[in-house]
């Protein structure tokens, strides 16, 4: 579904990676690894079209995502959660989730939203302004979007497990595995070993790239 052809990325004068060829099909999880500053976030932003690659191109179902016609179709099938949560301090968890759903073009009926918050164990604080939530709770509000986006084939998640407690990590891992099992694809970064069966996870290590091929 998602392919990259000779993608390169540089920050300032430094080349982070180049000649990166990737191909990601449905039912797969891809974990992007690498040290701080190795370009994990930049790669994810390139994959979802927020950032233009310095060379090469990204294709979704064969069409380059840089073209504006392909972009909207691609974004309809994509869910991206960056390392920023995208929450407004003044809004409650519920309002934040509803606002995100509107932007993503998902139905914003209150029922599925409430169910998503319940599943993230946020039901008791759904009406609280986000400014009173802890980092982990804020992250869970952001990740509740995953539960609304089961029908989106591609998920791109930047450090989804950040600030989560063990129970929430297990829940998110379960959600990711279920998405892959249902034929979706997930690209994510994380600093610790996820407890998803290793056979289902592809790895891309940006620290050990030789001519763009992960080794």
């Amino acid at each position: 579904m998602l392919e990259t052809l000779g993608v390169a990325c540089s920050r300032g004068d430094r080349t982070l990676f180049s000649q990166l060829d990737l191909s990601l099909g449905g039912g797969r999880l891809l974990r992007v690894m690498g040290a701080n500053g190795s370009g994990k976030t930049s790669l994810l932003r390139i994959l979802c079209g927020l950032r233009a690659p310095n060379a090469g191109e990204v294709r979704w179902r064969g069409a380059p995502i840089a073209s504006s016609e392909a972009r909207e179709g691609f974004h309809r099938e994509l869910l991206y959660i960056g390392h920023l949560n995208g929450l407004k301090d003044e809004f409650s968890a519920m309002e934040n989730l509803a606002a995100s759903a509107v932007l993503a073009g998902m139905a914003s009926d209150p029922m599925p939203l409430r169910r998503a918050l319940e599943r993230m164990e946020l039901a008791h604080i759904a009406g609280l302004p986000a400014r009173h939530l802890s980092q982990g709770q804020k992250r869970r509000v952001a990740l509740a979007r995953l539960l609304l986006a089961a029908d989106r084939p591609l998920w791109i998640l930047d450090e989804p497990f950040n600030a989560l407690d063990a129970k929430a990590v297990a829940l998110v891992e379960q959600v990711l595995a279920a998405h892959a099992a249902a034929g979706g694809a997930v690209v994510f970064t994380t600093h610790f070993e996820p407890a998803i069966p290793a056979a289902r996870i592809d790895r891309l290590d940006l620290d050990r790239m030789q001519d763009g091929q992960p080794c």
Partner: protein
């Protein structure tokens, strides 16, 4: 498409309601500035009535300029702008909704406040009506142009001053036709031509400014 526009508009209005202080600051600034002039200029009622449209317009323009930073700044800082750039509908539509919300919380309120402030200058009823009309036509234009400047300077150091410098020349025609409308009505030639020109400029900016602003926002997100 309409649901996205309405959704973003409702969200921004609700946010402005939660951040009432920002809106009230803008209005307080407008009230203060327009109140200082009669105190400074003196009680010459003829002079006051003559300078009133210009002063009310300049004050509205400066008050609007103070508020452009809040158009995109918080969305940029908290990551909402990324979600907007990844929406399945054109980003320009979101920009248009945000500019509309900005207008409701600044331009519309300023236009409604202006007749009250006009009392201090001894503006007659008919001229107050023309002033109000010219502000209602001109302030959406300010919001649209402001959105372009705010998008262009997003994430830059000294963005506020830079966007003010970018906007000043663009605001000149709005100011001339806006305050000119009242002067023309006063001199008996009629405000219609000025108001039509303002309306024409608004029709031009309505489709173009969101497109320009959304292109600038994509650049800002790209370099984040």
């Amino acid at each position: 498409m309409l649901s996205l526009f309405a959704g973003v508009l409702a969200r921004d209005l609700r946010l402005a309601l939660r951040r009432r202080g920002d809106v009230l600051n803008t209005l307080a600034f407008f009230v203060m500035v327009t109140s200082l002039f009669p105190l400074g200029v003196g009680a010459d009622s003829k002079l006051l009535a003559a300078i009133a449209p210009g002063i009310l317009w300049v004050a509205a323009l400066l008050a609007a300029m103070l508020s452009f930073a809040r158009l995109f700044d918080s969305d940029y800082a908290d990551g909402t702008l990324e979600q907007m750039a990844l929406a399945a509908e054109p980003l320009a539509l979101i920009v248009l909704a945000k500019a509309a919300a900005h207008w409701v919380t600044t331009g519309l309120l300023l236009s409604l406040l202006a007749p009250v402030m006009g009392l201090q200058f001894g503006l007659t009823g008919a001229l107050t009506g023309t002033l109000c009309l010219s502000l209602l036509l001109g302030t959406p234009l300010l919001s649209l142009l402001g959105a372009v400047a705010a998008a262009l300077t997003l994430g830059l150091r000294g963005a506020g001053v830079l966007s003010a410098l970018l906007l000043m020349p663009l605001f000149v025609p709005v100011l001339i036709f806006g305050s000119g409308a009242v002067a023309a009505a006063d001199s008996g030639t009629g405000a219609q031509s000025h108001l039509l020109l303002l309306g024409g400029l608004l029709m031009l900016a309505l489709p173009l400014a969101p497109l320009a602003a959304s292109a600038a926002l994509r650049l800002a997100v790209d370099s984040a």
